[in-house]
Each structure stands twice: as C-alpha cells, then as structure tokens.
C-alpha cells in the first residue's frame, strides 16, 4: 500500500443473461445479492467484505470485463494518483459519486494492456454480512453454494505487460510478487500485489488487448475447494480445470465458467508477499509446472479461452 491503494474493491462483469448469471455468482459461488440499479445492474458481495459490494453484473450482448476498481485510503490519495496517472501518460476520466450505487467518485484509466481500471475511496459500508462488529460469531448462517469468503483478484490478458507493470508499480505502488520471463528475459506475466497477498491483480501477455481470463474468489481450505468441485459436478457447471495446485503463487484451485463463458476461480492457500521480498521468477520453460503444478503441462484452453 505504498501509494495508498488498499485492495481490489470491485469488478464489473458483462453477462449475456442476468438470471442465469445470478444462479452462478449468487447461488453457486455463494455471493450475496445486495442491490440492483435502474440500469439493471446487480450488486453482490462475499460475506466477509465490509463494503456494500464487490461484484457488479451487467447484462450485455458480449461477455467480458467492464472494469476493475481499487479502493484507496482517502479522497486526497485519489487526487494525487490522478495527477501521477496523467504524468505517466494515462488519460483519466472522473465519474461522479453514485454513478455506481453508494460509491464515491471514481477515477478511470486504461492500462497499456487495454483494460479499464478505476480508483475510488468511498463506498457505503454494510459490514460483514450476517455478523455484528462486536463479539462477532465465526461465520453467518444462511450462506449458499461455495460460500465464497472474498473477491480476491482478476487475471487479465493483453499486450505490453512491461509498461503495465511499470504503471502498477511506479504509479500505484504495487510490487511484482511473481513473474514469468521468456528465454530472452522478457517479462511475459506479472503477478502484482498492493497488500501481503500473492496477487491483487495479474497480467499475462497476449496480442489482443482487454481480454478477461478470470475473476477469483477466496475459500478457506482445500476441503472447501473439493466441495466446490462437488457442486460443479452436481450442478453440471462447465469445468475448466482442477482441483489442482498452481506453481505460480502455489494456490490450490479450481476453474469453471459462468453461463456466459466468463471464467471463475475459487482458490485457497498460497504464498504471501511483503515489500522487502524479492520477486519470485518462473522461467518460460517451466510454464507448465508454473501454471499446473501437478500436471506440469500446459492446457490450451486455459491459455487461449478468454472473454
């Protein structure tokens, strides 16, 4: 949090059919529906999150990612980062408060990879769902499906990983926790953190800009991942791969698709990162093991199927 960027605050995902999408994000992953707006967008959160929502679904005729928002410490941080982004060469756009329900003003910009990001400092806080702030119980009753604990990160595909990495590190204060380099020592993937998590956002090099690989939700244990896998089978949900472990970040994971073809992940465990930690490097020749630690082989679908 070197520059006042705290955490991934929200992701807005485009879906082809809202009610089908809600069966996935609400009933299967276990997010809680918090609100809807007059544009038909649906706002959801995972139960441990203090802010009112972290996932926004928008019905559209092309699935994929609209934007990812990072929450900053305060409004002064927003003003400072807006100037720094412009100095870096980004064009920024300020969206007024309540353009997203119960969210303060947002500063939007586009990364060299072609993705829209935004910074905000204020959002209505409704507290952890179903729990009090005083003498709280361990967990709330009434959760559904995989009972996702929090929205954790996204993985995005696009060109110019190097400049995007510079933007996140030099302007927004992130660290490169892990990276993949090719045989010419060119960085082809960055796993970036603004906290002690192994990743708050990740990028992989890809010719086409603005592509969405997955949105990821954190579960507590490997048993929870296996239970998620059971639910994927019970509900005949499109499975991508897993349960397995990544080499990169060492998270234990399963990937599956929402009914519009956007990929979801639930994962647990994995590495942590502090600002004094050196970057962990994976060499491209070990990419199979980096991505799927057990199979040690690349899977074409995982690398190429995007929205």
């Amino acid at each position: 949090m070197k520059k006042g960027v705290m955490r991934p605050g929200h992701v807005q995902i485009r879906v082809l059919e809202m009610e089908e999408a809600l069966k996935h994000y609400r009933d299967l992953i276990g997010l809680i529906e918090m609100d809807r707006d007059d544009q038909g967008r649906v706002y959801l959160k995972a139960w441990t999150e203090v802010d009112k929502y972290s996932v926004i679904l928008r019905e559209a005729d092309e699935p994929g990612l609209d934007f990812i928002g990072f929450k900053c410490l305060n409004e002064n941080t927003l003003d400072k980062l807006n100037i720094d982004l412009i100095e870096f060469g980004c064009r920024t756009k300020e969206l007024p408060a309540n353009n997203l329900k119960d969210c303060g003003r947002r500063i939007q910009f586009t990364t060299p990879t072609g993705h829209t990001f935004e910074l905000f400092a204020n959002k209505k806080q409704t507290g952890k769902w179903g729990l009090d702030n005083v003498n709280p119980e361990a967990w709330p009753e009434g959760l559904t499906g995989m009972k996702a604990v929090r929205f954790d990160h996204c993985l995005l595909y696009g060109p110019d990983i190097e400049k995007t990495t510079q933007l996140f590190c030099n302007v927004l204060g992130f660290d490169v926790a892990e990276q993949v380099i090719d045989e010419n020592n060119v960085r082809i993937s960055s796993f970036l953190t603004c906290s002690s998590k192994a990743h708050d956002i990740a990028f992989i090099n890809h010719d086409e800009p603005g592509k969405f690989h997955h949105a990821s939700f954190w579960l507590e244990t490997w048993e929870d991942i296996l239970r998620a896998a059971d639910l994927i089978s019970m509900k005949d949900v499109a499975l991508d791969i897993g349960p397995t472990r990544h080499g990169l970040t060492h998270g234990k994971t399963i990937y599956f698709f929402d009914p519009s073809g956007n990929r979801s992940e639930v994962f647990c465990g994995g590495d942590y990162h502090y600002p004094d930690h050196p970057t962990v490097t994976w060499q491209a020749e070990a990419l199979g093991k980096a991505i799927f630690y057990h199979d040690r082989a690349l899977n074409e679908r995982f690398l190429t199927v995007l929205t």
């Binding site: 005729d61 994929g64 698709f257 199927v305």
Partner: protein, 95 residues
Amino acid sequence: MKTQYRIKVLNRNQEFFCDKETSLLKHFENSKKDGVKIGCRGGGCGVCKIRIVTGEFTCKAMSKAHVTPSDIDEGYVLACRTYPKSHLTIELLNN
C-alpha cells in the same frame, strides 16, 4: 423418448444423432469426437464456431464479438449454444 435428429458433418464424413435439448457441442464433448474445440461452453469465447449448412436450429445468447446477427443468418453459430430443431448438415471450421 426424445426425438433424435440426424446431424451430418460435411467435411468429416460423419453422422450422429442429437436431441433438441442437447447442444451440438455437448454431443461432441460427451462422445469424445474431435473436430470442435471445447472452450467456455457458454457462448463467450468463440472457439466452437461451426456453420449450419441446412436444417433448423435454435440458439441461446452468444457473444456478438464472435457471432453477429448476419453471421447467424449465414449459419455461423457457436456449437455450445446451438440446439437442433430438425435434421442438420453442419460444417466444421478451422478452429
């Protein structure tokens, strides 16, 4: 028993049967037939695009990034979102 429609694959010299509730991609995936790539299975990624040459079919929503309305008029569809309503002749594309 559900009505089974005959699906003739032009450039594979292949035939199979599929009911109206099973997507064409699901049939390929269940029967381990190659020729169509298995992607997101939700109409989003576009890797299972095929062409329907003759016959009637219905489609669920597909990403317009991969299939435009005029594509559908010409029979280009995503197999994961396409269900037969009659016997079909289909063509696999280079995907």
